[in-house]
C-alpha cells in the first residue's frame, strides 16, 4: 500500500527557518492529528506536501515518487485549508462540479447527505457564505473526493457545536465506509482527541512527538501535590512542564510512575491530550 514519506524537509523564508529537518510518514487508512501552536509549521508542512509551495531541501514521496509537481502523486493528496481558492462568485454547486471535473469522481451520495444535514444552500455563492458554511463546503469537497490522503487545516473554523459534532459523525462514518488517511491540523484538541489514532506534534519547526495517542499519553503523567514536596522530587523525573498555584504544584513528566512509590501527599494523574499538548509546547 502507499504511504507518504517525508524525509529531512527544510523550508526557509528568506532568513527564517520555518521547518527544520522534518522527517515522518503518513500511513494509509489512519487518522492523524497534526498539532502545534500558531506558527509552529503545520500549515507549511501541509502546503509542501500538497504542492502549493516548494521545500528548501529534502524529499517527500508517495510510492517512491516525489509529490512535488507530480500529478500522479497529487491525485492521492488533497489539502483543504483556511484560505479559499475558489472563485468567490461561484455557486457551491458549481464548485462541487468543478471538483468532479478535475478528479473524475465525486461522492454525490455522501455530499447530498451532508448538504441536507448541515443545511447548506448549494445555490449560494461561496463568497456570500458565513465562515461556518464556508468550512462546511470545503469539508464536503474534502470528504467526497476519491483521494487517499486528505489533509485538513483547521477544518472546523466557525462551526457551531452542533455542526462540529455532525462533522465528527460524518468523518467517522466515511472513514469506516472507505478507510483512508486523514491528517487534521487543529487547535480544538479536546474534542478531537478520541478521533485521532496517531499524533505528530510540531514545535518551532521541529517534530517533538510522533506516536500513537495512547502510547504518548501512557508514557507521561501529571504529579500533583504540595509545592515543597513536589520540588523535593522534581529532579528524579523527566519534567516537561510545571505549574504552581497557591502552594500546590503540578509536574508533567515523561515517565511511567507508580503512585505507591511516591511520598505521601503526591498524586498521579493521567494527562488528556490537550493538557499533554499544552505542557509539551509551552
Amino acid at each position: 500500500m502507499t504511504e507518504i514519506i517525508i524525509n529531512n524537509i527544510q523550508k526557509n523564508y528568506k532568513d527564517k527557518k520555518v521547518l527544520k529537518h522534518i522527517s515522518t510518514k503518513f500511513e494509509p487508512g489512519k487518522i492523524y492529528g497534526l498539532l502545534g501552536r500558531n506558527g509552529a509549521g503545520k500549515s507549511t508542512l501541509m502546503n509542501l506536501i500538497s504542492n502549493r509551495e516548494f521545500p528548501t531541501s529534502g524529499e517527500m514521496t508517495i510510492n517512491g515518487e516525489t509529490v512535488t509537481e507530480n500529478e500522479k502523486s497529487q491525485a492521492h493528496i488533497y489539502l483543504s485549508s483556511e484560505k479559499n481558492y475558489f472563485s468567490k462568485d461561484f455557486k457551491v454547486k458549481k464548485i462541487f462540479k468543478s471538483a468532479e471535473s478535475f478528479y473524475g469522481e465525486f461522492d454525490w451520495d455522501l455530499a447530498t447527505k451532508m448538504i441536507d444535514r448541515f443545511g447548506l444552500d448549494i445555490n449560494s455563492k461561496i463568497g456570500g457564505l458565513s465562515t461556518g458554511y464556508n468550512s462546511i463546503t470545503k469539508l464536503i469537497i474534502a470528504l467526497c473526493l476519491p483521494v487517499d490522503f486528505i489533509f485538513l487545516d483547521e477544518p472546523i473554523l466557525g462551526l457551531d457545536a452542533n455542526h462540529r459534532d455532525l462533522f465528527y459523525e460524518f468523518l467517522m462514518e466515511t472513514y469506516a465506509t472507505r478507510p483512508r488517511t486523514f491528517v487534521i491540523a487543529t487547535h480544538i484538541i479536546e474534542e478531537m482527541e478520541k478521533i485521532f489514532e496517531h499524533i505528530i506534534l510540531i514545535k518551532n519547526g521541529e517534530i517533538i512527538d510522533d506516536g500513537d495517542v495512547e502510547d504518548l499519553l501512557n508514557s507521561s503523567v501529571m504529579l500533583e501535590g504540595d509545592s515543597e514536596k513536589i520540588a523535593a522530587i522534581e529532579d528524579n523525573f523527566n519534567v516537561f512542564y510545571k505549574h504552581s498555584f497557591t502552594g500546590i504544584s503540578k509536574l508533567y513528566v515523561k515517565n511511567k510512575v507508580d503512585e505507591a512509590q511516591l511520598p505521601e501527599g503526591i498524586s498521579v494523574n493521567k494527562l488528556n491530550l490537550q493538557e499533554y499538548f499544552v505542557g509539551r509546547t509551552n
Binding site: 459523525e169 467517522m172 472513514y175 478520541k194 485521532f196 495512547e214 499519553l217 494523574n269 493521567k270
Partner: protein, 123 residues
C-alpha cells in the same frame, strides 16, 4: 453505554468495561449481536481502531465472539463469567476504597456496617 472519558483509564479499556457492564445488566443477552465497531465509533465519535482494541479484549476473554460477515455476538457464558469476575474484584475495586474513606472520616467498623445495612434496605 456511557463514557466519561476521564483521564485515568485508557479509552479502549473503558469501552471494554462498558460493554461488559451492558452484558452484565442484560442489555445485551446471550447470543445477541452487540453494536458494531463502526456504529460505536460513529455514535461516540471515537476512532474505530480504539473501539476495536476494546472489543478484542472481550474476544480474548471469550465474552464476545466474532461471526464472520455478521458481527460481534455475546457468548453463552458471558454474563456468568463477567459476574464471577467482578465479584472477585469487588473487594479490590470497591471495598478497600470504601474502608479507606470511612477511616478518613473516622467511622468505626460498626458504623460502616450500619450504613451498609441501610444501603441494602433502601433498595
Amino acid at each position: 453505554m456511557y463514557f466519561k472519558f476521564d483521564e485515568r483509564t485508557p479509552l479502549y479499556l473503558q469501552i471494554a468495561d462498558q460493554i461488559e457492564s451492558a452484558i452484565l445488566k442484560g442489555i445485551y443477552k446471550k447470543g445477541q449481536q452487540i453494536p458494531s465497531t463502526t456504529e460505536i465509533s460513529k455514535e461516540y465519535r471515537i476512532n474505530p481502531a480504539t473501539v476495536l482494541k476494546g472489543m478484542n479484549i472481550l474476544v480474548e476473554k471469550n465474552l464476545i465472539e466474532k461471526k464472520r460477515g455478521l458481527g460481534m455476538f455475546v457468548t453463552q457464558n458471558s454474563q456468568d463469567e463477567i459476574l464471577e469476575d467482578r465479584q472477585a474484584t469487588f473487594y479490590q475495586d470497591y471495598v478497600l476504597k470504601t474502608v479507606e474513606v470511612a477511616k478518613e472520616l473516622n467511622l468505626s467498623l460498626e458504623e460502616l456496617q450500619e450504613l451498609i445495612e441501610r444501603g441494602y434496605q433502601n433498595d
